[in-house]
């Protein structure tokens, strides 16, 4: 029977009540008395020399408080990059300065040139129009192949060839991979593009700077996935504010998907301006501004080769990728095409030899960084597309080819040739589940039925794996991370027995306020409503590293469990004193302490009370109070995996693709709240379908973002998607975290794009046509053209 409380229960989300009644507290809902408003004047050209920014006339306009330009930040640090990559030749990556406001040059459309602070937003905007900017246009470079072609203009003087780094992985395997490919029975080659995407959380970014002259404390309210990381980066590296004088608050946040991980210029500007003006300063992005100021995602051009033997066993993989960095290095950008991508190239397969080369390229485009899945979707897309193409070329059923190469269920822990070791998994089990729930056996009949209506029906399959819960700190440090990747939690028991958990994880839709209490409720045998979660405020929570890469429950939740275990250990000692028993004999279960072999018992609330009212209490050996903090640094990533299927119908007359069914069988290890987990998968599938069929950030050759608003960027809408079938019953619990959890937030965005593309290509390899590949998004125009070309 389904549980109605604790771990495994689909309890309803408590945060929904405020969101459903309009009582949420998003950053733009916050207004501070006396606040001024910022409007950013942004570059309208992709590349140019900034000869002069004349602000005198604008500064004299009504309501204008102050206009900041690049010169005001000459003494201030640039926006820092959090990850350093080393090239194959041993040189560290090129890391050009990223100023808060452009100085000397602009490098992409949207690069901020000036920040106008005024009494109202309308006045700030009006004044910005009066600023005279003298820009000398320079030729822009947008296309990555052109950028590294030799005679392209340099985005940065420091990188004349526009190459940020040239990374090889695993370098020692390179020759063996070349040999294996040369001698293989069959080699499948595929060139593909992973389209540039815009994350588009529905809440645009907002920053409010505030300064308290009495305390000397700066406060930043911001739409962030990790307030502590922003405090660290902005405080220490940009503005030089000591941590105890800087508080970062990220209240309700309307979605992130990666794009709210990073530290942005607007946060620094508002914090800086609030202190300089001694007045609160607020900035709210509008959507069109978000398109040219939020970090973009993906944007790879790749050639992948898969070598197989006569039986279809994978022998070797070689990939060469160009990864767009955009005009500057965003916070975690260098890690995405390297350590988050190359390390996943084994997928769910036993391929013994893998070599991956990645060249990161500067272009005159918006900086790119992690977007839902970050690196893993790119790896999975290449792999699952090339496997599918190999299956077609060799005449092997795509499910069967995958099965022949799956890492067997008894092979764990499994060391891949690309550094990571999977702790647990069972890819046959998720594939079995998929075959059953997607009714793959019935496909041929459905295809015939579609054909009778003149439609091409296709079935796409993909298998994916991802590395979640990014950690351990000492490993990521070796790989170039400039931060630790632990998480912390404080568990505070109140005098009457209620519990408050302060966590460094941040919820921006994932439901932490509901699911974290489920874990505590289970551990303490108490109702969920006795447990409260505090997050999103550096002054109220211990150090945190935030939420991204599906690390909340695996890393943040584990920190909470460790802190709770400390509470239980101390409470047992208190209970042993109260019950006059040896501590070894005390057991804690269902909220009660008992003494083995006796009928003595005492409930948790009484022990908590004794800790705070220590009248009958072992003060000589135990401190009063019941509050513990734990820092948890996992020993490995977690490895969720799964198998997806999609059925599409293609109209050969128009190229329109209709998704008829989408099925996901995932293994997330243990699950805290199945309802919430399913919701995460649904959202990921939605974004994956968006990438596969609709979305793409398109630049023209001058570096103008053509798809710069919802008029031109095709966001998935309700009637673009079907209802999904999702299943998480296959569970191989993670072996190295106390909850056995793996993480589910990105799965859908990782597994879906190749599944959908494979489905469309399955349709386009029937009825006498033969289309080897189409790049995403598979718009009707692209599909129709491919059909026509193949006729």
């Amino acid at each position: 029977m389904a549980k109605d409380s604790g771990i495994g229960a689909s309890i309803k989300r408590r945060e929904d009540v405020r969101f459903l009644t309009g009582a949420g507290n998003y950053t733009d809902d916050i207004n501070i008395a006396g606040q001024a408003y910022v409007y950013f004047l942004r570059s309208t050209v992709a590349h140019g020399k900034l000869n002069a920014v004349k602000t005198e006339a604008a500064a004299a306009m009504p309501g204008v408080v102050r206009i900041f330009t690049g010169a005001d930040f000459a003494e201030v640090g640039g926006i820092p990059c959090g990850w350093q990559i080393t090239s194959r030749n041993g040189e560290v990556m090129k890391e050009p300065r990223h100023p808060v406001l452009a100085h000397g040059k602009v490098r992409h459309v949207g690069d901020p040139i000036a920040a106008v602070v005024a009494n109202s937003l309308a006045e700030a905007r009006d004044a910005a129009e009066a600023i005279e900017v003298d820009i000398e246009d320079l030729p822009a470079v947008v296309d990555m192949k052109a950028a590294i072609g030799g005679d392209a203009p340099a985005v940065h003087e420091e990188a004349p060839d526009n190459i940020c780094y040239d990374w090889g992985f695993v370098e020692e395997n390179r020759e063996a991979v070349d040999e294996a490919i040369k001698g293989a029975h069959h080699v499948t080659t595929l060139e593909l593009v992973n389209n540039r995407l815009i994350a588009n959380p529905m809440e645009p970014r907002v920053a409010i700077g505030d300064f308290n002259r009495a305390s000397g404390e700066s406060t930043l309210y911001t739409t962030s996935q990790n307030p502590h990381v922003i405090r660290l980066l902005m405080g220490a590296f940009v503005l030089g504010i000591p941590e105890h004088k800087l508080r970062v608050i990220a209240p309700d946040v309307g979605g992130g998907f990666g794009t709210k991980i990073f530290h942005y210029a607007e946060e620094a500007l508002c914090t800086f301006a609030a202190k300089a003006l001694n007045r609160p300063v607020k900035w709210t992005a509008d959507r069109s501004e978000a398109f040219i100021s939020d970090a973009h995602g993906r944007d790879h051009v790749t050639k992948i080769e898969l070598a197989l033997d006569a039986e279809g066993k994978f022998l070797a993989i070689r990939t060469n990728t160009l990864a767009n960095m955009g005009a500057y290095l965003s916070t975690f950008a260098p890690s995405v095409p390297t350590w988050l991508h190359g390390t996943l190239m084994a997928g769910t397969y036993t391929t013994p030899l893998i070599y991956c080369n990645v060249k990161a390229v500067f272009t005159n485009t918006v900086p790119v960084d992690a977007y839902r899945g970050a690196g893993r979707p790119e790896a999975t897309f290449q792999l699952e597309r090339v496997v599918d193409k190999a299956a077609r070329e060799m005449g092997i059923d795509p499910v069967e080819l995958r099965r022949r190469n799956f890492i067997p269920a008894d092979a764990y822990p499994y060391q891949t040739p690309v550094a990571v070791a999977y702790d647990t998994g069972d890819y046959h089990a998720t594939m079995d589940k998929l075959v059953e729930i997607a009714d793959l056996k019935g496909f041929e009949a459905r295809k015939a039925e579609s054909a009778a209506r003149g439609k091409l029906r296709g079935l796409g399959i993909a298998s994916y794996i991802e590395a979640c819960g990014i950690a351990p700190s000492n490993l990521v440090g070796q790989l170039g991370a400039r931060a630790g990747l632990f998480e912390s939690a404080t568990v505070r028991v109140n005098a009457a027995g209620g519990i408050v958990v302060m966590t460094g994880s941040h919820s921006h839709g994932q439901g932490h306020e509901t699911t974290f209490p489920q874990v505590i409720a289970e551990m303490f045998g108490m109702p969920e409503d006795m447990v409260e979660i505090v997050h999103g405020d550096t002054a109220r929570t211990p150090m945190g590293m935030g939420t991204y890469g599906s690390r909340s429950i695996a890393v943040g939740g584990s920190a909470m469990v460790r802190a709770a275990e400390k509470i239980i250990a101390k409470a047992k000692r208190i209970a042993s004193h109260l019950m006059e028993a040896a501590v070894e004999d005390v057991e804690f279960k269902n909220g009660e302490f008992t003494v083995a072999g006796t009928d003595k018992k005492i409930d948790f609330a009484s022990v908590a009370l004794a800790a705070y009212v220590p009248h009958n209490y072992p003060l000589e050996s135990i401190e009063p109070g019941l509050e513990e903090t734990a820092f948890y640094d996992p020993s490995n990533f977690t490895y969720p995996a799964g198998a997806y299927a999609c059925e599409v119908e293609v109209d050969p007359e128009t190229g329109v693709v209709d998704i008829l069914a989408f099925t996901a069988a995932d293994d997330f290890g243990n699950i805290i709240n199945p309802m919430v987990v399913s919701g995460q998968v649904h959202g990921g599938i939605g974004q994956g379908v968006g990438q596969a069929l609709l979305e793409g950030a398109v630049y023209d050759s001058n570096g103008q973002l053509v798809s710069g608003s919802y008029m031109d960027y095709a966001m998935p809408r309700a009637d673009d998607l079907p209802s999904f079938t999702v299943d998480h019953s296959c569970q191989t619990p993670c072996t190295h975290n106390p909850l056995g959890v793996k993480g589910c937030g990105e799965a859908g965005a990782i597994g879906t794009p190749p599944t959908v593309v494979n489905a469309v290509l399955d349709a386009l390899n029937s009825g006498g046509i033969n289309v080897p590949h189409i790049d995403m998004p598979l718009s009707p125009a692209r599909v129709w053209s491919a059909i026509e070309a193949a006729k």
């Binding site: 309803k12 989300r13 945060e15 929904d16 009540v17 405020r18 969101f19 459903l20 009644t21 309009g22 009582a23 949420g24 998003y26 733009d28 809902d29 207004n31 309308a122 588009n200 959380p201 529905m202 809440e203 645009p204 309700d252 946040v253 309307g254 979605g255 998907f257 509008d286 959507r287 069109s288 921006h508 839709g509 994932q510 439901g511 309802m675 919430v676 399913s678 919701g679 995460q680 649904h682 959202g683 990921g684 599938i685 939605g686 974004q687 608003s709 919802y710 008029m711 966001m715 998935p716 809408r717 309700a718 009637d719 998607l721 209802s723 999904f724 859908g748």
Partner: protein, 158 residues
């Protein structure tokens, strides 16, 4: 600046606005009703949907002055008299029809409009009616389910 008056969630309100003030700004900034959100500047996302004189409206696409004298209902006016969640709101919570909650007020207001016009919509009709509302978190699966559940509950209560 022109003075305008309207009824919002059953309360008479008034204020002075500039000619360019949008209805969504009047609701959020003058009245403090921050449940109505702004997600775009091209009237595409639907985060700002409220009911004006019985019809659902994108309040980012209407001047406050144009709503002078109107009857407006926002998400803050959708709960039951006793403060408990209204039928549609409850269906969204029961069916996990929201994640970050940012699109949610607009979704609830659009759902209310749909169910008023068509108490028993099919899945395809629901999806088509949500054409003007974007959700980035849920993949719409549970939003559709929530609206179906709300429809069933309202039909049963008739």
């Amino acid at each position: 600046m022109p003075k305008i008056s309207m009824t919002v969630n059953g309360q008479a309100v008034s204020g002075e606005v500039e000619g360019r003030t949008l209805l969504v700004q009047f609701l959020r900034e003058h009245l403090g009703l921050t449940g109505t959100h702004v997600g775009c500047d091209t009237a595409q996302c639907g985060a700002c949907v409220a009911e004006v004189d019985g019809a659902s409206v994108k309040t980012c696409n209407m001047l406050a002055a144009a709503a002078d004298g109107a009857e407006v209902t926002t998400i803050e006016g959708m709960a039951n008299e006793d403060g408990t969640l209204g039928v549609i709101q409850q269906a969204f919570q029961d069916n996990h029809g929201l994640q970050c909650g940012f699109c949610t007020p607009g979704m609830v207001m659009t759902a209310a409009d749909l169910l008023k016009r068509n108490p028993n919509p099919s899945e395809a009709e629901i999806r088509a009616y949500l054409e003007g509302n974007i959700c980035r978190c849920t993949g719409y699966h549970n939003i559709v389910k929530s609206i179906q559940a709300a429809s069933a509950a309202m039909v049963a209560a008739e």
